[in-house]
Symmetry: C2
Subunit: 480 residues, 2 copies
Amino acid sequence: MIFSSFVISDKEPIYVQICNHIKDNIEAGMLQKGSKLPSTREVSNVLKVSRNSVVTAYEILESEGIIKSVKGKGTFIDKVSRNSKDNFNVDWSSMINEYGEACTKLDILKTELPYKKGMISFKSIAPEEGLFDLEEFKRAFLNVCSMEGDKILNYGYAKGYNKLIDYLMKYMQEKGVNTEGKDILITNGFTEGFDIVLSSLTKAGDSIICEEPTHNTAIKIMKTHNLNIVGVPMDLDGINTKELDKQIKETNPKLAYIIPSYHNPTGIVMKGEKRQEVYKICEKYSVPIIEDGFNEELLYSSSHVPPLVSLSTEGNGVVYIGSFSKILFPGLRIGWIMADKNLIGALESVKRARTIHCSFIDQAILYQYMNSGAFTKYVKKVRKYYRDKYRFTLEEVKKNIPYECIMGEGGLHIFIKLKGISSRDVLAKCYEKGVLFMPGDIFYSGSGGEFTMRIGFSRVKKEEIKKGIKIIGDIVKEMS
Amino acid sequence: MIFSSFVISDKEPIYVQICNHIKDNIEAGMLQKGSKLPSTREVSNVLKVSRNSVVTAYEILESEGIIKSVKGKGTFIDKVSRNSKDNFNVDWSSMINEYGEACTKLDILKTELPYKKGMISFKSIAPEEGLFDLEEFKRAFLNVCSMEGDKILNYGYAKGYNKLIDYLMKYMQEKGVNTEGKDILITNGFTEGFDIVLSSLTKAGDSIICEEPTHNTAIKIMKTHNLNIVGVPMDLDGINTKELDKQIKETNPKLAYIIPSYHNPTGIVMKGEKRQEVYKICEKYSVPIIEDGFNEELLYSSSHVPPLVSLSTEGNGVVYIGSFSKILFPGLRIGWIMADKNLIGALESVKRARTIHCSFIDQAILYQYMNSGAFTKYVKKVRKYYRDKYRFTLEEVKKNIPYECIMGEGGLHIFIKLKGISSRDVLAKCYEKGVLFMPGDIFYSGSGGEFTMRIGFSRVKKEEIKKGIKIIGDIVKEMS
């Protein structure tokens, strides 16, 4: 409190010294309008002076309008007038550099139409939180506390929580990955993983191959790194491999970014043979693959399709970025990069230089949760839930929206191409009627996707899906 | 499981098809050495074939050495030989760019002598975890769960958890800050805060002012951004203001990075008048200040010294980066940037492009913990604990180590300048005797600090402090 180090002298009356001390503190910026003062009793105790002197000081200040007593609440600073007005003003907007500007310009939360209360929004593909088993989560937390105690709240390691890393190594083995010579770095979700990889491997102007369309956040990150994005068109079964071969030959890319499962935004699952083909083309030209494990866990058909990284029997050409954020606890922000040991070593230092490490207690909880078997049960549950919802939504779409084609076969979203009607025009009209969706052009690095839209249904109730799709359909029909 | 989508045909005997299917899965990388096969009973159920066919298939594979039955455990893949060896190998080390290399080169966890079990280590200034009140933490967690439910585990906002932001706004007001026109962004500790600020405001070659010596992580981040670090020497009461003025005039820096409280590594607390002076100089030349709120909470004397950001009555020239990591739960990785509203708006987009947001449950727990009053109680406790330990360590240092000067007046560390003896030479000898400390040169952006060392005592037991300091002292005396 402001009087703790204040020493009363004998040069002036005590009440004057108290008044001046408070005024000095206001001047120095230590007391603001609304700051609470200690009670007169407290001050008299701390300063070892009579309470009367303090009361007098407070009365004078109150008469000057500087402080104000509120009955039953205490005494507060009421008027702040400082003589030393400073004019240290910086024009921050002129200081933001190209990178900061790019991040702002590409921030779809700032540029796209915002959700308003009561709207039916198909924008999001975040998981339905009602599916989370909070009780299991609590149990995992309490287990962590009793097993790790305070330690888990102290600093950890940049690479991540060891038990979680070991668990994920086995988890990747079960996906068919030969983990020899590989290692894992825990990251703040896919976003940090991808950003760290690009930050460490690319320079402005490098070319990078990706599917066109592709994950909007990936486009944003590639753009903020000033990469030359080479989008390879997708057929109904995934990336066009002939075009992939041609583009790689022509642009000599540094990396290829691929989403094989429930591709965002199309929902296409690349079949095993195509995966082999893509892998072989990248191998032929020695273009390392950044594989986005997005929604791999969600595959509705229970037959596992091996990720690209598992096609490497002894090679190290694939960097796999995994995350459970689209099905489990995205708020925790835990993802991982699996890659060549030496590469992970370097990325670990980059991670340390940027965020030191991810929350250790969150990593420990996630580990406990998964290791207890709760995750396996949960995945079964959500697969069924989303599969049903997918089928329901698909049917509504087919019934109501006139389309040129619907891509994909599942996931948390449906990607629709309209017959020559601009989805942004549709969106503008839908917005007036309280319906939101993602215009497809944000998934194109260039100017494509004008007629496409993504319908995310994961968090929308069935009756709202029905209602919302009907509204979109009516507007499309009207415009046809 | 691998048989779920397998369809038996009638072209070959069933056992042959099962054998081939397993071999195909090995070839495709779906089964690795050690992978467990489903039991013969399970396979016969799934495929709806006789169990005998499955048993025959397994027997054949076992006779070929491909699988192995372990009694009571199951059947496992034992030999994996794939014909399609791939040689997709990437020389990742040649791909790491300048930034990735700088992060690795400047990673003191990789370059400095490592801690080995049983050593007395004065390297760390992490908090003593024994002080954390785990019970209060648990209570905060359970409160969050019951109040926020599953929602808190879903995606949140890049800026941070609203209640925590509001709390920190008030918290900063109590430090004397005029929060009008200011806003807060929650970051993954100081490290992410500083990295985001530099990423958004600077470009390679820009000059940045800082104290010399200064926080090693800050040096690392400034170097990875290729900034021209202008270190201003420190007197015993903090940065030399004459030199500060001169250096700003000469180098026209973009920013100034300052640690006013328990400065790392010197432990100096800049007095109120000096803060005014530093502020005025930066204002004069319009050089925005990045204030590192490091350990401000820990100030042993209970009298508050206003942070630089509070000296701004109406200006916006100071960016304050706060963190409780040196006293409270560093494993959570929660810090904050308080700055001009518009700047925070831009930094929010940068944060979103990099890590989306910090763990929402961690933010909510921290808020609950602080709002419950537990934090205030905790700070009182740790202040006393560390003050006692500081005094104890200081006395041991004074008794045992011949020094030229000891800087600072508290914190979790003591900074010592030896009389013309290289602290790295001392360290080499101490290491042999099982004692570690931080050589001071890592806190100098240039080549200074040869004779300095930092003794971090926060997590060292008193008897070990005594023993360790004695060992250091004896070695220094020997070398004198």
